[in-house]
């Protein structure tokens, strides 16, 4: 049975059927193959109920809030603010790039959007200051995956929706791993900057500058405080916080800066809506597949295969991660999480891995895969904004990938990195 599902899946995917429809067709042909045509009605029913969910409602709002913030121009103000403090480090702008990604991570939850938004700001200004174009792009791409690991995070909402794991818990668990990736990238950048003698920002921190920059970035900085404080403090559900984030972004654009026209607003809503079309297809189809796999007992079979290699928890986790990295090279993070989550998570949980720990591990792993060749959303976006060829970008990118893989290993083998914050906030019973 596993063989047939895999053949169908890869056969359909390789000839270029969109992944969401590959998932749906695999299920459809699976029903027919197992002579369960009676289940056909489950396709429409499961697809509908996947979407009819209050938890999932957080996703379009976070998507929209990030888009509005970019349109309003808060990103540029954040860069000025971060430059005052972190520009003074060796390789100033590269460090600021990473720090902005960390703060940006508290506003937006999508990596590819981060690559595009920050790339357009940083790559021109970095090359102007004498940084190589490939290095500037590599820093942008590598740091952009921090955004979906630091809450709020769109992929964590997806994972939580299909796996029925607490989204607030996932958000809390993502904070330390996200910061760790930031620190790792900053150390690496410091080493490279020292060797290539990259410039620093000569500006001194004066009181007037501090006040001016802080005032400029104030609205952008308030957003993560409201969203994260609200969710982690238990005041709002993630969905409510996401709605507030949209309201806040609209307020900033329409009332504070007044640079958001009605036409802009329509196009921002429309753009987010089209992205929702893509996500709808994926999530709803993956829900049907997860159900089909469960009744065919595929997760048990996969567990059996893994356990026949080893019954050591650490070796199994290592195998899972190697498998995920390989899959992630070809498959986008959304479909990979939605398809493999229901298969791999039960295996890990059986071995005593906490669902939150496993969820974050998957998110970090598949996020790194967004920048590994031959395919990856951030990699491609980096090639577009940096105007580089695949080979050129990868040559500059690989030290950063290694640094992130090192953090991944820490996340896998030191559960406290993920579990400490949710434990402290009472998300773990």
């Amino acid at each position: 049975m596993i063989g047939i599902i895999l053949t169908l899946f890869f056969g359909l995917a390789i000839i270029g059927v969109p992944v969401g429809i590959v998932v749906a067709l695999t299920t459809l042909f699976g029903f027919i193959y197992t002579d369960n045509a009676i289940f056909l009605s489950m396709i429409s029913q499961r697809m509908f109920s996947a979407m009819d969910s209050f938890t999932f409602l957080a996703l379009p709002f976070f998507l929209l809030a990030g888009d509005i913030m970019n349109k309003v121009g808060l990103t540029a103000r954040l860069v000025d603010f971060a430059n005052l403090f972190f520009g003074r480090l060796k390789g100033g702008l590269a460090q600021v790039n990473i720090v902005t990604s960390i703060i940006f991570g508290g506003i937006s939850g999508a990596a590819v959007a981060d690559t595009a938004a920050l790339g357009r700001i940083f790559i021109p200004s970095m090359t102007q200051q004498g940084y190589e174009r490939d290095f500037s792009t590599a820093v942008t791409v590598a740091s952009s995956i921090i955004a979906p690991i630091i809450p709020p995070s769109i992929i964590m909402v997806l994972y939580g929706s299909i796996m029925e794991v607490s989204i607030a818990g996932l958000f809390a668990a993502g904070i330390v791993p996200g910061l760790l990736i930031g620190v790792a990238l900053m150390i690496l950048t410091r080493i490279i900057a020292g060797r290539r003698n990259y410039p620093t920002n000569p500006e001194k921190i004066t009181f007037s500058r501090l006040v001016k920059r802080t005032r400029g970035a104030m609205w952008a900085l308030m957003m993560p405080i409201i969203i994260l404080g609200g969710i982690l403090g238990g005041f709002f559900t993630p969905t409510e916080a996401a709605a507030i984030a949209v309201g806040f972004a609209l307020f900033v654009g329409l009332v504070v800066y007044r640079n958001l026209t009605f036409k802009d607003l329509y196009s921002v809503f429309f753009k987010s809506a089209v992205t929702m079309g893509v996500i709808t297809m994926l999530l709803s189809a993956a829900t049907v597949l997860a159900w089909f796999l469960a009744i065919e007992q595929i997760p048990e079979m996969v567990a059996h295969i893994f356990m026949s290699i080893s019954d050591n928890k650490y070796i199994i986790l290592l195998l899972c991660n190697i498998f995920l990295i390989i899959v992630g090279m070809f498959l986008d993070i959304g479909p990979a999480l939605l398809i493999l989550g229901p298969i791999l998570a039960p295996l890990a949980i059986n071995l005593g891995v906490h669902p939150l720990h496993f969820g974050i591990m998957m998110c970090v792993n598949l996020n790194i895969a967004l920048m590994t060749p031959p395919m990856g959303g951030c990699l491609f976006m980096g090639m577009i904004v940096g105007e580089l060829k695949l080979g050129e970008l990868v040559r500059a990118l690989w030290p950063f990938i290694l640094a992130e893989l090192f953090v991944l290993v820490l996340v896998i083998y030191i559960p406290a990195i993920t579990m400490w914050v949710p434990g402290m906030l009472g998300f773990i019973k």
Binding site: L12, A13, I14, I15, G16, V17, P18, V19, G20, I21, A24, L25, L28, L40, S41, I43, S44, Q45, M47, F48, M51, D52, S53, F54, F56, L57, P60, F61, L64, F235, F236, T239, E240, A242, A243, I244, V246, G247, Y266, F269, F270, S272, A273, V274, T275, M276, G277, V278, I279, T280, M281, L282, S284, F330, L331, D332, G334, P335, P374, M375
Partner: protein
């Protein structure tokens, strides 16, 4: 073989119809999205500020999300935004890529026909009503077959454009 200008006018018509449907669907999506946003913010406002939660806000927001998400599937298909694995392009001859794209269209069509059929059955056989409103759940369930139908129409128009592009000399594929 139709003459070139005839082929071009068919392509243009298909493009015009597709764009018109996209615009209408887009307006519906934006309406759902905007209303959903306002309702969700109102929900928070009444729960925390007025201390009297409305039960209906959550439900209405969810139903709008259903209509928004499914309607947008057809727009994403027209704009070719659905995520694909493109490993074979560049490794196989152009003619094979072209043939495969028709096979893909056929497979996509098969799925949406099944979804249209099953979604239609689900909608007409439904006997439930929404929990806080006295409206039939069929109004919400209908998003699924409607989305399937719209997607089939857009797919059909895309295929028409692709076929007739073959007859227009010196023009690359439009899709």
């Amino acid at each position: 073989m139709p003459n070139y200008s005839r082929a071009q006018s068919i392509i243009d018509t298909a493009e015009k119809i597709g764009l018109a449907i996209e615009k209408i669907c887009g307006a519906l999506c934006v309406f759902c999205f905007a209303t959903m946003t306002i309702i969700a913010i109102l929900g928070v406002f009444f729960r925390y500020v007025m201390q009297s939660p409305f039960m209906w806000t959550e439900e209405v927001a969810r139903y709008l999300l259903v209509w928004l998400g499914f309607t947008a599937v057809s727009i994403a298909l027209r704009q070719d935004k659905h995520i694909k694995v493109e490993v074979l392009d560049g490794f196989v001859p152009q003619i094979v890529v072209k043939l495969m794209s028709y096979v893909v269209d056929l497979l996509v069509a098969i799925f949406f026909v099944v979804l249209l059929w099953q979604g239609y059955l689900m909608t007409i056989n439904n006997i439930m009503t929404a929990s806080t409103f006295q409206i039939s759940m069929s109004w919400i369930l209908a998003a699924v077959p409607v989305a399937a139908a719209l997607t089939l129409v857009q797919l059909f128009l895309n295929v028409i454009k692709k076929i007739f592009t073959e007859f227009v000399p010196g023009k690359e594929e439009v899709t």
